[in-house]
Symmetry: C2
Subunit: 358 residues, 2 copies
């Protein structure tokens, strides 16, 4: 049973490689398109048969398309809870889709760039993830998939655009988002301000782990709130521009910490390093926090250099379903914390420094 | 000015070597004798001239005695505050004596076993420190000095014994104490119970750093409360017996932690190790706490083996006056914390372990 979960956990994700601009701070860029099929009742009021029929059409289209031959199609109900958990942690499916039910599924490409959610809130959610600040490129990738699947005939109104289950997605059906790491702005307690500034121009800042500006690990998702009244390119450009601005703000905050509070920053970073390299039990929240501080330390030259890909990979590898998927048998909460600790110790082993005064 | 302080900080202390029985848990044994000279008014009501005259007699006796030729005699008022601070941290003088004044002094032997306090609360306080549980031996050493100095003719009453300024010291004038490290009993919150048990049989348990059972670094002093009504040998035997009992209790508590809470103990110990080896700023309280946990970890085989002498030496080297004495110039509180951190990192460098899973 664990085999499938482990296979998914071990499959690649393009963004993890740390490619793309500003990839130390912008971990990933995502473009998601919400689409529905004209000939089918929308999922929220569709019958079981309707759901299955719709899924069947979508699956056939994907499987018959030569350019999508690298996609694997999953039926959620055929996946055990562990495999679904791993998919959620990799953002390949949403917690809502993970609940399963008739006709619910997903299709994932073998490079870990695209996932197509089937019969979640809408018939189709096409999402493309890339590393760094690459929203324009992610939009091109999503658009390609979109152009293939539009053979299925989308529910579309020439005046308002694509029709969706929730009015907030109507129009372009596009949500552009970046996953951004803001440890220095968090230390300086500036994230609340950043979030309200973003709110005023129609963007949302949300913690990746936990809520609002109190996100564990200083990881945030910045995305557009509305999808209507602007073109796809305008939306992409807006989120991209704000993301680039946040990168500059975070860099300035790091420079400020380095110049004005260097000793405190060094202490925080080295303590995080010491705990990551030596602890024997660690909960996810503390692990995210320490990884965040150590990553900032490494990127600012205070700690040994560790590649972005190592930091990115850890964000998934230390999560519950990923750990369980790779274990021989079900781990107790204590075993989970001790295994997480072991993963962290091993991750930093190759970048070992004694911490001696030079 | 710093030269004298540094010289004292660098001078040996026999107990630091970690010799003697149970020296992992009983850091040192001390016997202290309170004595006064029959021909002189007791210090609390003596005039300046009286104090100076008394000190002069004591000093001449020490300096004229061949068997005490290794002693260095200090006049407190001639020592700068830093040197006095170092002496307090080494327990060579009391904070009360450190205040100085006419005729106040101390004499210290070159092996760091004996210090003779002059004109503190009593004319003479003879103290002998040895490593491990060696109260009988410390008593013999103190007795030898006592027999030399009794040429000065002590204030003595054949019915009640030696006369002292404070009634609690009357009789034998003897206080036997051990400095004991009880981290496992502290973790298990048993120190309060231990202290009240000791109280019932006339012994006092006091934190070495801080008060009562909340001592930083789990270091306690166990000593006899009364000095009257029992012979010196009986008092020594009693404190010795209780100290040996506490060693067994602490050992049992460590065994219990190892068998019942091993994972928690390992985590605590390795975290302490990681922080000691990597932090950049550390206050004294946290340092004492982490040194205590790491020492227990090392002694129970969870952490790399570190000799007792390293742990013992650190207890002085990380303290304020010792750090200042060895600095080139006065350190700010921030510099003090960062220097302390550096001392700790260097101390554990030679015992380096990567913390990798084996």
């Amino acid at each position: 049973m664990r085999t499938e979960a482990r296979k998914i956990a071990d499959s690649p994700l393009e963004w993890v490689s740390g490619s793309g601009d500003s990839s130390g701070i912008i971990l990933s860029s995502r473009v998601r398109l919400a689409r529905n099929l004209e000939d089918h009742i929308f999922p929220w009021r569709a019958s079981r048969e309707e759901m299955l029929a719709c899924e069947e059409r979508i699956r056939s289209r994907i499987l018959s398309e030569n350019s999508l031959r690298s996609f694997r199609v999953f039926e959620i109900d055929q996946l055990d809870p562990l495999a679904r958990g791993v998919m959620i942690e990799r953002h390949l499916i949403s917690p809502s889709l993970a609940k399963g039910g008739p006709g619910r599924g997903t299709a994932v490409d073998d490079r870990g760039i695209v996932s197509i959610l089937v019969n979640e809130e809408d018939h189709l959610r096409i999402q493309a993830f890339l590393g760094g600040l690459r929203l324009h490129e992610a939009w091109r990738v999503a658009r390609q998939i979109d152009q293939i699947l539009e053979d299925l005939v989308y529910a579309f109104d020439s005046r308002i655009g694509f029709l969706t289950t929730c009015p907030t997605n109507i129009g372009t059906g596009l949500r552009a988002s970046v996953m951004i790491h803001l440890p220095a702005l968090s230390v300086l307690r500036k994230v609340g301000k950043v979030a309200s500034d973003c709110g005023r121009i129609g963007l949302t800042v949300r913690g990746m782990f936990g809520e609002g500006s109190d996100s564990a690990g200083s990881l945030f998702q910045v995305s557009n709130q509305v999808t209507l009244g602007q073109t796809e390119e305008e939306l992409i450009e807006k989120v991209s521009g704000v993301a680039a601005g946040l990168v500059r703000q975070e860099q300035a905050a790091r420079d400020r910490l380095l110049s004005e509070k260097r000793s405190g920053l060094e202490d925080k970073a080295w303590r995080a390093w010491g705990l990551l390299r030596f602890s024997r039990n660690m909960g996810i929240r503390e692990a995210l926090e320490l990884v965040s501080l150590a990553r900032m330390g490494s990127e600012t030259g205070v700690l040994p250099k560790v590649p972005s890909s190592t930091w990115n990979l850890l964000l998934m590898d230390i999560q519950k379903a990923h750990i369980q998927a790779r274990a021989e048998s079900d781990l107790t909460p204590e075993e989970l914390d001790s295994t997480r600790s072991g993963i962290l110790r091993e991750a930093f082993g190759p970048f070992h420094q004694t911490g001696q005064l030079s």
